[in-house]
C-alpha cells in the first residue's frame, strides 16, 4: 500500500515537473530567446568607408540572429580609449567584440587581456606581431597582395617608362601595420624598376588634410595605401591636379570610387569590405554558438577597379554595398 502511494506521488511529481518545464519552454518561446550581442569598434565608425563593412555585419547579424551594436567612435583611437570602450560594451552585455586594433605597441597586450573576458575578432588590420601569427583571430584582406596589385597596375600602365619616375606612398598614421604590409607589396614589384620611392604618413590629429596634401613633394605617381589618404589625394587631385601626379590607391568608399569615376584617381584596389563584416561576424557568432569552436583568421578578396570596368556587373555589386 505504501509502495502504491509512493508510485502515485512519484508519477504526479514527474508529470508536474514536465508541466512546469513545458510552461517554461512556452514562456521562453513566447518571449523569444535572448539574442547574443556583438559589439563592433572601428575607428571613425561614421565614415563612409565603413558602409560596406557595416552592411556585411548587418546581413550576417540577421542570418545568425545576433544583436549588433556598432560603437560610434572618432578618429585615431588610442589603446586605452579602445580598452575603455570595450569594457563599456562588455558591461552593457556584449558577448563578443569585433575590433579594429588601435595603433600602438600596448594594444596587443590590452586585447589579450580583453580576450580572457569575451571572444575578440580583429578587423582591418595586418597581423599584430610582425611576421608572426597573432593569437587573436583576424578578418582582413591581404594588404601585402593589395600593395603588390597596385604596383602591378602601375607596371601595366607604364611598363619600362617607370624608370626614373618618382613614387610617393601615402598612408595614415593609425594604419601603420597595414600600410607597412602594403608597402612591402609595392616594393616587391617596383623595387627593381628604377623608381624613386618616398613615403609620407598623415597624422590627422596633427595636420589638416589640405595642409598635408600641400606639403607633399612633387611626384609622378602617388600611391595611397588607405581610403582616407586616397580620398584626400583624390580630392586634392580633382581640385589642384596634385602637381600632375597620377593617383593609385586602396579605396573602400563611394568617394574613392567617385574620384576614379571622375578621373582624379587612375586605379583602385577595393577590398571586399562586405565580406570583412560578414565573415568576421559569422566567425564570432559561431564561436558564441559553439563553446568549443575556435575562431580562425579569415582572408577576404580584393578587386582591382579601373574606370572602364567601374560599372561592370560585379563592380556594381561592390558599389551597391558601399551605397548602403
Amino acid at each position: 500500500m505504501k509502495n502504491d502511494k509512493r508510485i502515485f506521488i512519484l508519477t504526479e511529481a514527474v508529470l508536474g515537473i514536465l508541466v512546469i518545464i513545458l510552461a517554461f519552454l512556452m514562456f521562453r518561446e513566447k518571449n523569444g530567446q535572448d539574442e547574443q550581442k556583438i559589439s563592433v569598434i572601428v575607428q571613425n565608425s561614421e565614415d563612409s568607408q565603413w558602409h560596406a563593412f557595416k552592411y556585411g555585419l548587418a546581413m550576417a547579424a540577421e542570418d545568425h540572429e545576433i544583436e549588433l551594436y556598432i560603437v560610434s567612435t572618432g578618429e585615431m583611437l588610442t589603446a586605452s580609449q579602445e580598452k575603455a570602450l570595450m569594457e563599456d560594451e562588455i558591461a552593457y552585455g556584449a558577448d563578443a567584440i569585433i575590433v579594429q586594433p588601435a595603433p600602438g605597441e600596448e594594444t596587443e597586450q590590452m586585447l589579450k587581456e580583453m580576450q580572457n573576458k569575451v571572444p575578440i575578432m580583429l578587423v582591418e588590420s595586418a597581423s599584430l606581431q610582425n611576421g608572426e601569427e597573432s593569437e587573436i583571430p583576424l578578418t582582413a584582406p591581404d594588404y601585402y597582395a593589395m600593395g603588390k596589385a597596385l604596383a602591378e597596375e602601375m607596371v601595366k600602365d607604364y611598363g619600362k617608362n617607370l624608370k626614373g619616375k618618382s613614387v610617393l606612398i601615402l598612408s595614415q598614421a593609425g594604419e601603420s601595420e597595414a600600410a607597412e604590409q602594403g608597402e612591402k607589396g609595392i616594393m616587391e614589384v617596383l623595387g627593381n624598376t628604377g623608381v624613386q620611392i618616398s613615403r609620407s604618413v598623415w597624422d590627422s590629429s596633427e595636420i589638416s588634410k589640405e595642409d598635408f596634401m600641400k606639403r607633399q613633394p612633387k611626384a609622378d605617381l602617388v600611391v595611397a595605401l588607405d581610403d582616407t589618404t586616397l580620398t584626400a589625394a583624390g580630392e586634392y587631385s580633382a581640385v589642384n591636379s596634385l602637381h600632375g601626379a597620377v593617383v593609385y590607391g586602396v579605396g573602400k568608399s563611394t568617394e574613392a570610387v567617385y574620384y576614379l569615376d571622375t578621373r582624379a584617381v587612375e586605379c583602385l584596389v577595393v577590398p571586399d569590405e562586405f565580406n570583412v563584416g560578414y565573415q568576421s561576424l559569422t566567425e564570432t557568432a559561431e564561436s558564441l554558438k559553439h563553446s568549443f569552436y575556435e575562431m580562425r583568421d579569415r582572408n577576404v578578396e580584393y578587386t582591382v577597379i579601373r574606370r572602364e570596368t567601374l560599372f561592370s556587373k560585379q563592380n556594381q555589386e561592390i558599389l551597391f554595398t558601399m551605397s548602403q
Binding site: 508519477t11 504526479e12 513545458l22 556585411g56 567617385y258 569615376d261 560578414y278 551605397s323
Partner: protein, 603 residues
C-alpha cells in the same frame, strides 16, 4: 485499472495527434493564405508603382515631347520638370537621348558625366532592339549624371524609343525614366520583416534577381536561391525541395514587366509556428495524464478501500482479536463482509461447544480415573480387614477400618478433585497404615514433610498409586528390610512430593516406558498407577508438571510429583477444577502472597 489507463492514454494520444494534425493543417493553410494575401497586396502596389512610371513615360512622350525641340525646348523642359517634381519621391531622373546617344533633355538638370556612352548601356540597347515596347531593366547604378555628391544611385530604368522632332526633322530617340530602386527595396524590406524564416524576393522573367533579402550573400556564393527555376513557374503555389530543404513557393506575376514576386515558406516555418500548439497540446495531455492518475487513484481507492478494511478486520480476527468484521463498500463487498461475519460467529459458537465438550470429556476422564482407583483399593483393604477379623485381630481390624474411614473421607472430599497437600498426605498415611497391616509390617514407612507446603493445592489420590507401586514392585518381596520414604518440599515455586523405596528398582528401558505406555507393566496391582497419576496432574496443571521417575536396578526407585505451588483457596480450587491452567507468571504472585501470609503468621 491498467487496461483502463492504457485505453485512456491511447485515447488521449489519438486525440492529441488528431488535434495537432488539424491545428497544423489549419495553421499551414492560414500561413499560405496570409502570404498569398500579402503578396497580392504587394503585387498590386508594385503594379501601381510601375503603372505610374509608365504613365510618367507616356505623359513625357505624348504631352511633352510632341513639341518641336528647336522651337519648344523651354516648354519641354518645363513639362519634364513638372512631371519630375510631382513624382520626385519615386523618380531619380527623366532623360531623353537622341539616336546617337547624346543627351537632348534631362530632369533634374545636372551635368552629364564625361562620356557615359549611353548607346552601350543596357536600357538603351534594349529600347533600340525592341522599339515597340517599353522596357524595365534590372536594378543598376545610374551612370549618367554627376550631381557632385559623390554618391551612386541604384535605379530601375524604364526605357522606350520615342520620336523626336527637331526643327521639323523627326528622328528616333530614347526616353529614359529612372525609378528609384529604394522605393521598391523599401517595400520589399517591409514585407521581409517577418522573422520566421519566410521571405519574399523579386526577379525578372529570366530569373535575374531584382530584390532579395540576401542579395549580396547570393552573389558572393554564401547563400543559394532557386531563382532561375522559379522564374519558369506560372502564378500559383508550388512545393519544391531546394538545398535539402522542403518549402512552399508562391509565385505572383507582376503585370507589364514579366517580373515575378516570389514568396518562400520553408517547412521549418510551419513547424516553428506550430511550436506553441505543440507545447499546448503536450501540456493538455500532461494535465490530462495527471487528472487520469488522480481519478485512477480515487476510483481504485473506492474499490479497494472496503476490501482492505475487510481484510484488515479478518487479519485482526486471525491474530486472536475479536474485531467487528467490516461491512461497507459496494453490495458485493458488503455481502462478503456479512458472509465472513456469519462464518466467524458460527466458528465461535462451534468453538465454544467444542471447548465445553472437551471440558466435560476431561472431567469425565478424571472421574473415570478416580473411579478406577477406588474399587481396586477397596477390594485390597476389605480383603485385609476380612483377613484380620478372621484372624481375631479385632483391634487391628478396628484400626484398619478407622484408617479406611479417613481414607474414604479424604477420597470423597465433597467430590472435589483438588485438596490440600495436608489432606493428600493424610490420605497417604492412612493408606500406608492400612497397607502396613496388610503386609504385616514387612516394610518401614517414613514421612519427611516440610509443613510449609501443607496449605497448597494437590491433586487428590496422587500419592496413593505411587505408594501402591512402591509396595508392589519395590518392597513387597523384601523380608522386613523394605523402606519407603515420603518427602515433601517447596522448590522454586513448585511442590515436590517424592516417594522413594529401596526395592528392586527398574531398568532404564522400563523407566522410559513407565509413564508413557500403560499397557506395558501390568505384573501387579490395577495397572493404572503412574500413567493415570501423571495424566491427571498434567490435565489439571499443564504439561510442564507431572511425575519424574528415577530408578536403578537393585537400588530402588524414586517417584517425584511436581505440581505448582498454588495456595489452596476455594477460589483457586474452583478455578483449577473448571479446567483453567495457571501459567508460571500467574503462579509466582500467588506463591509470593502465600509466603507473605506464612511470615506474618510466624511473626
Amino acid at each position: 485499472m491498467i487496461a483502463f489507463s492504457v485505453i485512456s492514454v491511447s485515447i488521449m494520444l489519438i486525440l492529441g495527434i488528431v488535434m495537432y494534425v488539424r491545428f497544423s493543417n489549419s495553421a499551414r493553410q492560414d500561413t499560405i493564405q496570409s502570404t498569398q494575401k500579402l503578396m497580392e497586396q504587394t503585387g498590386e502596389y508594385l503594379e501601381d508603382y510601375l503603372i505610374s512610371m509608365r504613365q510618367i513615360s507616356d505623359a513625357v512622350y505624348y504631352n511633352v515631347i510632341k513639341n518641336d525641340f528647336f522651337e519648344g525646348q523651354e516648354d519641354i523642359q518645363r513639362g519634364m520638370n513638372l512631371l519630375y517634381e510631382a513624382n520626385s519621391d519615386n523618380l531619380r531622373s527623366i532623360a531623353i537621348y537622341n539616336n546617337h546617344g547624346s543627351l537632348v533633355a534631362a530632369e533634374p538638370v545636372a551635368s552629364q558625366k564625361e562620356d557615359p556612352d549611353v548607346t552601350k548601356q543596357e536600357w538603351y540597347v534594349q529600347a533600340m532592339a525592341e522599339m515597340e515596347n517599353m522596357h524595365f531593366s534590372t536594378p543598376h547604378i545610374e551612370n549618367l549624371f554627376d550631381d557632385g555628391t559623390s554618391r551612386y544611385y541604384w535605379v530601375i530604368s524604364l526605357s522606350r524609343v520615342v520620336e523626336l522632332t527637331d526643327n521639323g526633322d523627326s528622328h528616333l530617340g530614347v526616353l529614359l525614366v529612372d525609378m528609384d530602386y529604394s522605393s521598391i527595396s523599401r517595400l520589399m524590406n517591409q514585407i521581409n520583416e517577418l522573422n520566421n524564416g519566410q521571405y519574399f524576393f523579386l526577379c525578372d522573367s529570366n530569373g535575374e534577381i531584382i530584390y532579395h533579402p540576401r542579395q549580396m550573400q547570393i552573389s558572393d556564393g554564401i547563400y543559394k536561391e532557386n531563382n532561375e527555376t522559379v522564374a519558369q513557374y506560372k502564378e500559383g503555389i508550388y512545393e519544391e525541395r531546394f538545398e535539402g530543404e522542403r518549402r512552399k513557393v508562391i509565385v505572383n506575376s507582376i503585370s507589364y514587366t514579366g517580373w515575378k514576386l516570389v514568396g518562400v515558406i520553408p517547412y521549418s516555418t510551419f513547424t516553428s509556428g506550430m511550436a506553441d500548439i505543440q507545447y499546448f497540446i503536450v501540456m493538455i495531455m500532461l494535465l490530462m495524464g495527471m487528472m487520469l492518475v488522480i481519478i485512477n487513484r480515487v476510483v481504485s481507492d473506492r474499490i479497494s478501500s472496503p476490501i482492505r478494511k475487510l481484510n484488515h478486520s479478518v487479519m485482526e480476527y486471525e491474530a486472536g482479536k475479536k474485531p467487528e468484521i467490516y461491512i461497507g463498500g459496494s453490495l458485493e463487498i458488503r455481502h462478503l463482509g456479512w458472509s465472513i461475519q456469519n462464518s466467524y460467529e458460527q466458528i465461535d459458537s462451534l468453538m465454544k461447544t467444542i471447548v465445553q465438550k472437551q471440558n466435560e470429556r476431561r472431567k469425565n476422564e478424571i472421574d473415570a480415573l478416580q473411579s478406577q482407583i477406588n474399587p481396586h483399593f477397596l477390594y485390597n483393604a476389605l480383603d485385609s480387614i476380612t483377613w484380620m477379623i478372621e484372624g481375631g485381630r479385632n483391634d487391628d481390624a478396628a484400626f484398619m477400618i478407622s484408617q479406611l474411614a479417613k481414607l474414604f473421607r479424604i477420597s470423597l472430599s465433597k467430590g472435589n478433585t483438588i485438596i490440600t497437600v495436608k489432606d493428600e498426605l493424610q490420605h497417604a498415611k492412612s493408606y500406608m497404615n492400612i497397607q502396613k497391616v496388610r503386609y504385616k509390617n514387612a516394610f518401614a514407612v517414613t514421612f519427611d514433610i516440610d509443613p510449609e507446603i501443607e496449605t497448597y493445592c494437590a491433586v487428590k489420590l496422587t500419592l496413593q498409586p505411587i505408594l501402591e507401586n512402591a509396595i508392589n514392585y519395590g518392597v513387597s518381596s523384601m523380608d522386613d528390610c523394605g523402606e519407603i520414604s515420603v518427602s515433601g518440599k517447596m522448590e522454586d515455586g513448585k511442590i515436590i512430593l517424592a516417594v522413594a523405596d529401596n526395592g528392586i528398582g527398574m531398568s532404564e528401558e522400563e523407566v522410559r516406558f513407565v509413564l508413557t505406555d500403560s499397557n506395558r507393566i501390568h505384573k501387579h496391582g490395577s495397572g493404572v498407577g503412574l500413567v493415570n497419576v501423571n495424566s491427571r496432574i498434567q490435565l489439571l496443571f499443564g504439561k510442564e508438571y507431572g511425575l519424574l521417575v528415577e530408578s536403578e536396578p537393585d537400588e530402588g526407585t524414586r517417584v517425584s510429583i511436581c505440581i505448582p505451588a498454588i495456595p489452596y483457596t476455594e477460589e483457586n480450587r474452583k478455578t483449577l477444577e473448571k479446567g483453567y491452567i495457571f501459567d508460571e507468571e500467574e503462579v509466582k504472585p500467588l506463591y509470593a502472597d502465600a509466603m507473605e501470609r506464612v511470615k506474618k503468621n510466624e511473626e
